[in-house]
């Protein structure tokens, strides 16, 4: 297969991904995973013979949702899974038109909070963003927060590479850290006040140290869902007083936990406070 043919089909598949609902698309070399994750979590472990990893990113909440003073609006509407839909179109096209194997990379966790394949790492290696101080979220230079899905395939495409320029910290955040000891995200969720984040920026304006308490973040970002259901259930089953138990079962907290289990869109992305104050991608959310 000539370089020109590879280039052509790379452009075509990227175009398809964008038309299918992606805001950004990049392609990573599966060998790039070797440096970053152990065996069992690399593209070849999921699809033997993997030659490319196509990554699609799409925005979550609408610009209007970001403006709501009611945080529950974004908790319900925060994630529409457009990136998954786009990746399915990409995988279908590769198998049907190019006769090579292609799969949607599995993103759901299969053991606690550890997914079999990291979409965030895929986004970094495909050049779609860099990891930030804010909960290690991958920030795209234009859009900021995006959600990512990946297609692993045995078909070779032209590869993109990791961004050379760090997206985070923004120069405003560098200035903020120098003057006040905090970036906006750290200020919104400081670990020393029961939050999730801490960090520092060096003299060159780059991340020097970062700290992220994932389990605390889970209590916020997955406030209602599988986690809260299990914990509430543990309390409910050990309650001896029947009347008290009934009030626990019918409580708003437990009801919302059950609702989030039923409606999967409710069970992910339930806290955006570090992203709300992040300057990256802010211009994309300014509308009339």
């Amino acid at each position: 297969m000539s370089d020109l043919e590879t280039e052509t089909r790379t452009q075509q598949i990227k175009q398809l991904a964008l038309e299918a609902g992606g805001d950004v698309v990049g392609i990573a070399d599966p060998r790039a995973w070797d440096e970053h994750v152990p065996h069992g979590h690399r593209p070849d472990d999921i699809l033997p013979g993997a030659r490319s990893v196509i990554v699609v990113g799409s925005r979550g909440p609408t610009a209007g949702a970001w403006r709501s003073p009611n945080h529950r609006v974004m908790e319900i509407n925060g994630y529409d899974f457009r990136n998954d839909a786009a990746i399915h179109r990409v995988a279908d096209a590769i198998e049907q038109q190019h006769d090579h194997q292609a799969i949607q990379a599995p993103g759901l966790p299969v053991a606690g909070h550890l997914p079999p394949f990291s979409m965030m790492l895929a986004a970094v290696l495909a050049g779609l963003g860099t990891r930030s101080l804010a909960a290690n979220i991958i920030l795209n230079p234009k859009y900021g927060l995006l959600y990512y899905s990946a297609c692993i395939t045995t078909l070779e495409f032209q590869y993109d590479h990791m961004l050379e320029q760090d997206v985070c910290p923004h120069h405003m955040c560098v200035e903020s850290f120098r003057r006040f000891g905090k970036t906006p995200c750290m200020a919104a969720c400081p670990s020393e006040e029961g939050g999730c984040l801490d960090g520092s920026i060096d003299d060159q304006g780059r991340i020097d140290y970062s700290y992220y308490d994932r389990e605390r973040c889970v209590t916020r970002a997955m406030n209602f869902g599988i986690n809260s259901f299990q914990k509430a259930l543990a309390q409910i089953v050990s309650e001896q007083d029947e009347e008290q138990q009934a009030t626990m079962i019918y409580s708003d907290f437990f009801s919302r936990s059950c609702s989030a289990i039923t409606h999967y869109k409710e069970s992910v992305a339930q806290c955006f406070e570090c992203m709300r104050v992040c300057p990256i991608g802010r211009s994309e959310r300014k509308l009339k």
Binding site: D45, I46, E95, Y264
Partner: protein, 288 residues
């Protein structure tokens, strides 16, 4: 909206089939609503839609070739695309009503009270000539093999197709294997005599006897779904030791059942081992 007296039902059937194909269905067919006499009372088309005349069946959304190749069995537990057919079935029902002014209703993919299906979609697929029942259980299309089906019941009198003249199962390879080794690939991977789900006999190249342990199959296909959740909940509630009970409630197994119920659209079919080894449709599962 078309006036009913002017409709050419053969043309209408073709039009609906074209819409289905354009939207991703691999196969389509029609079964007469009064052909479901083998179904128990209460589970026939006219029990769901009074005066039903036809059942339009669509099939597709197969796992991709790459999906079958993954050595990580958990990959297919969390990446099913079966709900694409249900979405398409809804679209077709709307089309029939809006375009042709006949009543149409999708057969719900879930279960009615008593854990019984509203109507057997597998039976509908078989009657509509979209495939035939296999030794392993699923309806197989002679060319494409395993796929997911959706069914739309309508009062529109569409010309019915007939059942396949030649069943897809057993495949010639399986007939040959049975003659030589007294087993088939699906029996071999999940033998009922050794703790599996499948057994049976072939005579003169046809299925003469079939054994299927549906309760055991459910422990595999719905490994983490509602049946698994209920069993775990029962065991957990009965545990008298509070510390052990907490271990059970927070266990990876219990967590998986909750993830599976939350993301039920991608958790369909948590065991595909009999289909992995099935030669029917193998050409479509073979890519580079």
């Amino acid at each position: 909206m078309t006036v009913t007296s002017q409709i050419d039902f053969e043309e209408a059937k073709s039009e609906i089939g074209a819409i289905a194909a354009k939207s991703g269905a691999l196969v389509g067919g029609v079964a007469a609503a009064d052909a479901f006499m083998a179904a128990p009372e209460g589970r026939r088309p006219s029990d769901i839609l009074p005066h039903a005349r036809s059942v339009f069946v669509i099939g597709g959304a197969q796992p991709r070739a790459g999906d079958w190749q993954s050595p990580n069995y958990q990959h297919m537990e969390v990446t099913s695309t079966s709900d694409r057919m249900q979405t398409l079935a809804l679209k077709i029902a709307r089309t029939i009503e809006d375009r042709f002014s006949y009543y149409a209703v999708c057969v719900p993919p879930g279960v009615d009270q008593g854990q019984q299906p509203f109507m057997s979609i597998a039976m509908a697929a078989d009657l509509a000539g979209c495939g035939s029942r296999s030794l392993a259980g699923p309806v197989l299309h002679p060319e494409y093999g395993f796929m997911y089906f959706g069914a739309i019941i309508t009062t529109m009198p569409l010309p019915a197709d007939k059942r396949l003249d030649t069943p897809a199962c057993p495949a010639p390879e399986c007939v040959a294997m049975y003659a030589a080794e007294n087993t088939t690939p699906c029996f071999g991977v999940c033998p009922i005599g050794s703790g599996g789900c499948l057994g049976g006999r072939l005579e003169a190249g046809h299925i003469s006897d079939r054994q299927y342990d549906s309760a055991r199959c459910s422990t595999r296909v719905q490994n983490y779904w509602v049946p698994g959740f209920q069993k775990l909940l029962g065991a957990t509630l009965q545990e008298p030791d509070a510390k052990k009970q907490k271990m059970m409630l927070f266990s990876s197994m219990f967590s998986r059942t909750l993830w599976s119920m939350t993301y039920s659209n991608v958790s369909q079919g948590q065991c595909s081992e009999c289909m992995r080894v099935c030669p029917v449709g193998l050409a479509h599962r073979t890519k580079q």
